[in-house]
């Protein structure tokens, strides 16, 4: 069985693609070591977080004979590759491309992560339930589908749960250097919590600059914040007290997570982040699904695709390290519970 992965191994989002690839590789090794009826041949292609290159990577994988795609890792490439897989009838499960547009209207595309609206809604509910803040400022990247997607649903839900949004400011990839204006706006509006639906790169700049200004609200991030502790040279003391919603906790006590964390550290010398766990879960979910549809090596890619679609829509349940009892609906969105984490002493600690 030929399983293909696509994601950024180089470029600005490389940390996600590498984590995804490494996590998937561990799952593939585990499965092949089982020696069951299905063995997996695994290959990963780089897309540099670029839509056009991702489609090229997809074509390279198809030439290789890929039967199921796990990827692309990030939203923009996934939006470009999704329609291609749909036309070719290749089953696609993305570990972490979280925009609704990725799965919209494509019956063969599924997500292992929450969709962006779910993240925005869940964040607003979480902040209000836990009483983390009342006056909320938001800084988001309005050139990025992921960031704007979360912002929009967060803003809607904040109104429902009675959070007061006092400042909304934006930046783009080209202007992601100076955040003094955005932070001053939040400070002058007396915000006690800043919601950051952005990736960890600009987030690390925001934390540094807020610290220099002497401004210390609660910072609340989403899954893109994951990775901030592994940035080389970053003073993790700046991230102290940052809260983020993520489905995976490397400190979890269960045997499976611990075995995964141990294998990952032994192989790659660092703690796995959520994207590694997503990549790991993708491979196992596909493997368990293939067992349920009774996969044999003479099935065509089309047949595998149709059988998997029927299975995922028909109440397939998967227990993984990023959530127990995951189920999917016909749109391709997953249903599982997020976990709140706080950064303490340079490590994630579960909030509840």
């Amino acid at each position: 069985m030929k399983l293909g992965g696509i994601g950024p191994l180089t470029g600005g989002a490389a940390i996600y693609g590498n984590a995804h690839n490494n996590g998937s590789q561990i799952a593939v090794d585990e499965i092949n070591a089982l020696g069951g009826a299905i063995t997996i041949e695994y290959k990963f292609e780089d897309d540099e977080h670029d839509a056009e290159k991702s489609v090229n990577a997809y074509n390279a994988q198809k030439d290789w004979g890929m039967q199921v795609l796990i990827g692309p890792t990030t939203t923009t490439p996934a939006k470009a590759v999704g329609p291609e897989t749909n036309a070719d009838r290749v089953f696609m499960l993305t570990p972490s491309a979280s925009s609704v547009e990725v799965i919209d209207g494509l019956d063969n595309v599924y997500q292992l992560c929450f969709t962006d609206p779910n993240q925005g809604t869940a964040s607003a509910q979480y902040i209000s339930e836990q009483g983390l803040g009342t006056k909320v400022a938001i800084i988001y990247n309005n050139a990025d589908a992921y960031s704007t997607g979360i912002y929009n649903t967060f803003a809607d839900e904040a109104e429902n749960v009675g959070l007061e949004i006092v400042s909304v400011t934006t930046f783009t990839d080209d202007s992601a250097n100076d955040f003094s204006v955005q932070l001053n706006d939040a400070k002058n509006a007396e915000a006690d919590l800043i919601f950051l639906p952005i990736y960890y790169g600009p987030a690390s700049l925001i934390l540094t600059q807020a610290n220099e200004m002497g401004y210390a609200p609660t910072f609340f991030g989403v899954d893109g914040m994951d990775g901030i502790l592994t940035v080389e040279g970053f003073d993790t003391a700046l991230a102290e007290g940052v809260i983020l919603l993520t489905p995976f906790n490397a400190d979890a006590e269960d045997a499976r997570t611990q075995a995964f964390v141990e294998a990952y550290q032994a192989a790659y010398g660092e703690l796995p982040n959520q994207f590694a766990a997503d990549g790991y879960d993708c491979v196992w979910a596909i493997y368990e699904a293939l067992q349920e549809i009774g996969y044999t090596s003479d099935m065509t890619t089309d047949e595998v695709c149709e059988a998997l679609i029927a299975l995922f829509n028909g109440g397939f349940t998967y227990d993984g390290i990023t959530g127990e009892g995951m189920t999917w609906d016909a749109s391709g969105a997953v249903s599982k519970a997020p976990k709140g984490m706080i950064i303490e002493n340079g490590a994630y600690v579960g909030l509840d």
Partner: protein, 293 residues
């Protein structure tokens, strides 16, 4: 009070643009070429300082020195290998070569340092300055940046106007052939220009990254473009012009962000540039040179 904060941030950002713009403007003034690899020299300087401080255990000042030495050497090597053989070629060929060098530097950095973001350790470890009972906070790096760029500006002006090498630079920029006839070593003068420009780029890189510590192989491209704009804005070829253009650009960018729109800031910067060029095609302090026929 928030206006004052924004103004100070703008001047500080603009000062970095100004130092980078000096490199563009000097090279253009003397070699009549746009060195688009200049932005990537900033990135190399920042990586060198990062390595010196984080891997080789140096303190900030020797770290900066390492960056300046490496970049100065890099500037001379680039000029010797890539631009000197094209001295008689069309300006378009030189421009394309410069773009090629820029890509080469970016991808070499990608190979050596990987795409994973590094967080630059600020070379200025002073507390922020708090005035008016906490209403106005000025980052220490902002003050240092403004002072350093002012010193560089004065030193460079003195160098160009008072020294023999500076005189040679002015002569080459005026008329290359005539300067050569008068016994000035044009190639050596151009090399010196590249060396100074690249050394300044290293300092600019360290200051820029200390303020905005997001170090990746493409770090230099955006400040490079902004600084080029600043050089054109102030009148390319003019040293005070680069300084003025850089600071104005930084102030317009930050004030535009603060009072008009955070997303339109860059558009406003370039709109102002277009208006200035329509009114004064040579830039603010540029001299109109009549083409000799």
């Amino acid at each position: 009070m928030s206006f004052l904060t924004n103004l100070i941030n703008g001047v500080s950002l603009g000062s970095v643009y100004a130092i980078i713009a000096l490199g563009y403007t000097m090279v253009y003034g003397i070699a009549k070429m746009l060195n688009f690899a200049h932005g990537d020299v900033i990135m190399v300087g920042a990586y060198m300082c990062f390595c010196a401080m984080n891997y080789w255990g140096m303190s900030p000042l020797p770290g900066i020195l390492v960056a300046v030495v490496v970049c100065t050497a890099l500037g001379i090597i680039i000029e010797k290998l890539a631009y000197k053989p094209l001295r008689g070629a069309t300006s378009l060929a030189v421009l394309i070569t410069a773009i090629g060098v820029s890509y080469f530097l970016q991808n070499a950095a990608l190979l050596i340092f990987t795409a994973n973001q590094k967080s630059f350790t600020s070379v200025v470890n002073l507390p922020s300055l708090t005035l008016f009972g906490g209403q106005l906070t000025i980052r220490a790096i902002a003050i240092v940046t403004v002072i350093v760029s002012a010193v560089i500006m004065v030193a460079l002006t003195l160098f160009v106007n008072r020294t023999k090498v500076g005189k040679a630079m002015r002569a080459v920029s005026e008329d290359k052939e005539a300067a050569q006839l008068m016994g000035i070593n044009v190639n050596a003068t151009i090399s010196v220009t590249f060396a100074i420009g690249s050394g300044l780029a290293a300092i600019a890189g360290v200051l820029y990254l200390s303020a905005y510590p997001n170090l990746v192989p493409t770090t230099g491209s955006m400040p490079g473009i902004k600084a080029f704009t600043a050089a054109v804005f102030g009148g390319i070829g003019s040293i005070p012009g680069a300084m003025l253009g850089g600071i104005l650009l930084g102030v317009i960018e930050i004030l535009g962000k603060a009072y008009i729109s955070t997303e339109m800031a860059d558009a406003i910067v370039f709109a102002v540039l277009i208006i200035i060029l329509l009114i004064k095609p040579t830039g603010l302090l540029g001299r109109a040179v009549r083409e000799k026929v």
